[in-house]
């Protein structure tokens, strides 16, 4: 009985699918965010979708749905297995998080489960220390770690997320062993550990670190990206400081749909969504919130996903 019903509804859906693509979207669209309300991803997702209801964008509002848990695994698992592939359920992706998790295993998704639409932001990981820390450059950190192997504690928001990737890359590039302390409760908890002096340093989001530095609580020692950030022109990259760390840990945020979404819908979204991100109101709000933007179209994101998949597979192979 259950199978019959499910079969019938699938048949019905595919019948209506082709016709619906023309008028898509004819009702509000949902976007799943795999992190809690108030987090950086949630906050940015709300800003970049706020103009979705405009006539030159989708013409329908996008509602944010939070499905937090286990570093994003809960939301993406739900999205890969249970979301309707009709274009009315979108999700925010965080690269490298979901790719690293799928390589590590134990989840029901991989890059093949999703179709990227567009990228809106790139938030590099940075290395922070408390404002009163004796460390003033990455060299100081590496020297300390060399003298005290395994004793340099530094926090980050969990395992197999951007922060962890950056941590692994730093350790590998410097050839040292440090103690990465994953926290529960995201970047905010990791930042608190740094400010309170529970750990000697930490990897955190550039946007959050920028705010914490404005508040006078931390020093930012290095950016794990290929170039310096516009927000922090005075902070050198890891490469400049002699650490071979590329942009594999940069937290790319964007929109995707489940595999199996009608091609017409994907095309329509791929054409409108990047334009929606470029709206000037969105840009000014994002800048005010300290969130670096990087708009990429569908093809660029596909290439970026493929490249990350390769890098991360190599990096995580030893774990």
């Amino acid at each position: 009985m259950k199978h019959l019903l499910a079969g019938a509804s699938i048949a019905l859906m595919s019948l209506t699918g082709a016709a619906a693509a023309e008028e898509y979207p004819e009702r509000p669209v949902m976007m799943v965010v795999s992190y809690g309300a108030g987090g950086a991803t949630d906050f940015q997702a709300r800003i970049v979708t706020m103009t979705a209801g405009n006539e030159d964008a989708l013409g329908m509002p996008i509602a944010i749905l939070n499905k937090p848990g286990a570093g994003g695994r809960v939301g993406w698992n739900w999205f890969a297995t249970q979301a309707d592939a009709d274009g009315y359920t979108l999700a925010a992706y965080n690269v490298p998080h979901f790719i690293a998790q799928s390589i590590k295993g134990g989840v029901e998704y991989s890059t093949d489960s999703f179709e990227p639409i567009a990228n809106w932001g790139a938030d590099p990981a940075v290395f922070v220390v408390a404002a009163d820390s004796p460390f003033n450059s990455m060299q100081d950190v590496v020297n300390y770690a060399k003298e005290n192997p395994g004793k340099l504690t530094f926090s980050g928001a969990g395992l197999f997320v951007g922060h962890h990737i950056a941590a692994l890359q730093i350790e590998k590039a410097a050839g040292v062993k440090m103690a990465y302390i994953p926290t529960k409760g995201g970047g905010a908890a990791a930042m608190k550990a740094v400010i309170a002096g529970e750990v000697l340093g930490g990897v955190n989001n550039l946007s959050d670190a920028f705010r914490a530095r404005e508040a006078g609580n931390v020093k930012i020692l290095g950016v794990a990206d290929l170039e310096r950030s516009d927000f922090l022109p005075d902070v050198p990259t890891m490469m400049e400081q002699g650490l071979d760390v590329d942009n594999a840990s940069v937290n790319f945020r964007g929109v995707m749909v489940p595999k199996g979404t009608p091609q017409e819908v994907i095309d329509k979204l791929a054409a409108t969504v990047p334009e929606m991100f470029k709206n000037s109101r969105v840009a000014s709000k994002m800048e005010a919130g300290g969130s670096p933007m990087l708009v990429m179209n569908r093809e660029e994101v596909q290439a970026m996903w493929a490249k990350r998949q390769e890098t991360l597979q190599a990096l995580l192979a030893g774990l």
Binding site: L65, A179, T183, G185, N217, A288
Partner: protein, 506 residues
């Protein structure tokens, strides 16, 4: 004293309207079984897009304050806490309502909420810099001991049998480990796909408290003669005020405990009410009356859970670190207007910061006034026929559980836990310790694991978890709490005649 300059802004027509709207709306949302403060605030965020930063924050601040207090209404009248913070209120509050003192319980709860709430906001105004250092002093090892302190409350909480109370707590602790483990990412006890995200605390709370009430109403059947109508005696506000003044101990313990616990990031207000309830029970000269409709129980629990509101914002406003889920949502509300909490907020946008804080102060008073008015209407709520009430609560539970994170899985978990709880309650298991276990489990575990990772990299487990003044202080409190509970238990057993022992509490 800077805050006084900005009082005028709160009373500008639009701001005051928003404050009024936020307070009344918050009270109603809070009183609705199944809507927690965090959710109410999160759901209100989109409204603030259209407003200016100050006005948006006034709305959010007012809603935060009054949803916490509003949760007491359903806790007292229906034994369904609106949020984890109101669990302790059900213990004495609902018993009072059953005895016909619903109006009195509500009046007491709003008055003590206002006292606690105003104290908390004043702390926020005057002691923010000092408190910020305090909030940071709590590292993983201290938070671990705080959670253990919470666990010591479990055994003595609302259960006729200590062993069954502890067992209920253990069930809660176990339920909290279901799902993906946040730090390692391992899957634990996921025997059904709905459990992948773990058991959501709000969904569980709705299920464990609301569904047994629905079934209890069903159990009375169609026979109107058997259905007991809860009478609500009229009670004057002045009498309630006098009662409050006669109980300074409960009020003080509640307010202080709430403020201190609210301050600690990560523990949040969820356990403030329960710890305050337990403490005032231990210090009370009439401790045997607790749980049987004693006004001190309501006063302690409600003053604590509103006192925590102000201090819980200290880490957010000064350090830009959200100390509770609700604070995290508020952070989003600030950032969307381009305001960074921290010194930037007080230096460059003092009008936003102080108007927000002032609005919470005025909000407490408005909340109290409207709350007292609602208390007067309590008699009407109690007259709603059981059949209507059962259907209303069931529907609200389903909608409430679903809207936490738009997940059907949460609704299933809510219903299953609720139905189980109804039957287990008939055999001496109880919901309050179970929920407490569910709340404390993740706090204890995450901090233990994090602490032991830091300890292993630095000075070793013993020094890290047992060294330091704060650790020692907390351990002393934990030991004292256990010893006192054990002593009370022994004394009670000795004084009881065998006939009393078999006495049944429902």
């Amino acid at each position: 004293m800077e805050f006084i300059y900005y009082f005028g802004d709160v009373f500008s027509p639009l701001s005051f309207m928003l404050l009024l709207g936020g307070t009344i709306g918050g009270l109603i949302l809070g009183a609705t079984p199944g809507l927690s403060p965090t959710m109410a605030v999160a759901l209100l965020i989109p409204f603030t897009f259209q407003l200016e930063a100050t006005q948006g924050l006034i709305l959010l601040g007012a809603a935060y304050t009054s949803t916490v207090a509003g949760g007491a209404v359903s806790a007292i009248l229906l034994k369904i806490p609106g949020a984890p913070a109101n669990i302790a209120t059900t213990l004495d509050g609902h018993t009072m309502a059953k005895q016909g003192h619903g109006a009195k319980a509500l009046q007491l709860s709003f008055l003590s909420s206002a006292v606690g709430g105003i104290f908390g906001v004043l702390l926020l105004i005057f002691l923010t810099p000092v408190l910020a250092d305090w909030a940071l002093a709590f590292g993983p090892s201290h938070l671990f001991w705080m959670a253990i302190l919470g666990v010591t409350v479990i055994g003595s909480l609302d259960s006729a049998s200590v062993v069954k109370g502890l067992l209920s707590g253990c069930i809660g602790l176990w339920l909290s480990t279901i799902g993906f483990d946040d730090i390692m990412g391992a899957q634990r006890f996921i025997f059904h796909p709905s459990l992948g995200g773990g058991i959501n605390i709000i969904a569980a709370l709705i299920g464990l408290f609301a569904i047994p009430q629905v079934l209890t109403m069903f159990a009375k059947g169609r026979n109107s003669g058997a259905a007991e109508v809860i009478a609500v005696q009229k009670h004057s506000v002045l009498d309630a005020l006098r009662e409050l003044i006669r109980r300074p101990r409960a009020l003080t313990i509640g307010t202080v405990t709430g403020s201190v616990i609210g301050l600690i990031p990560g523990v949040g207000g969820q356990i403030a009410g329960l710890v305050a309830y337990d403490q005032s029970k231990k210090f009370s000269s009439e401790s045997e009356k607790f749980g049987k409709g004693h006004s001190e129980g309501v006063i302690a629990a409600e003053s604590a859970n509103n006192a925590m509101v102000g201090p819980s914002l200290v880490p957010l406003l000064t350090l830009s670190i959200p100390g509770s889920p609700t604070a995290a949502v508020l952070l989003g509300g600030l950032l969307i207007h381009g305001i960074f909490p921290g010194s930037d907020l007080f230096d460059n946008h003092p009008e936003v910061a102080w108007t927000f804080i002032n609005s919470m102060l005025i909000g407490q008073i408005l909340m109290c006034l409207f709350g007292l008015y609602i208390a007067g209407l309590a008699a009407r709520v109690a007259q709603v026929p059981q059949s209507v009430m059962a259907a209303v609560v069931l529907a609200l539970s389903v909608f409430g559980a679903y809207s936490v994170q738009s997940s059907m899985g949460d609704v299933y978990v809510m219903a299953c836990l609720g139905i189980m709880m109804f039957f287990f309650e008939r055999y001496g298991f109880s919901a309050a310790p179970l929920v407490l276990g569910l709340i404390l489990g993740p706090i204890a575990e995450a901090n233990f694991i994090q602490g032991s990772m830091i300890a292993n990299a630095t000075d070793g487990m013993t020094t890290y978890f047992l060294g330091g003044a704060l650790n020692k202080l907390l351990i002393t409190i934990v030991l004292a709490s256990i010893a006192y509970s054990a002593w009370m238990e022994l004394r009670q057993r000795r004084s009881q005649t065998p006939a009393d022992k078999t006495e049944v509490r429902t």
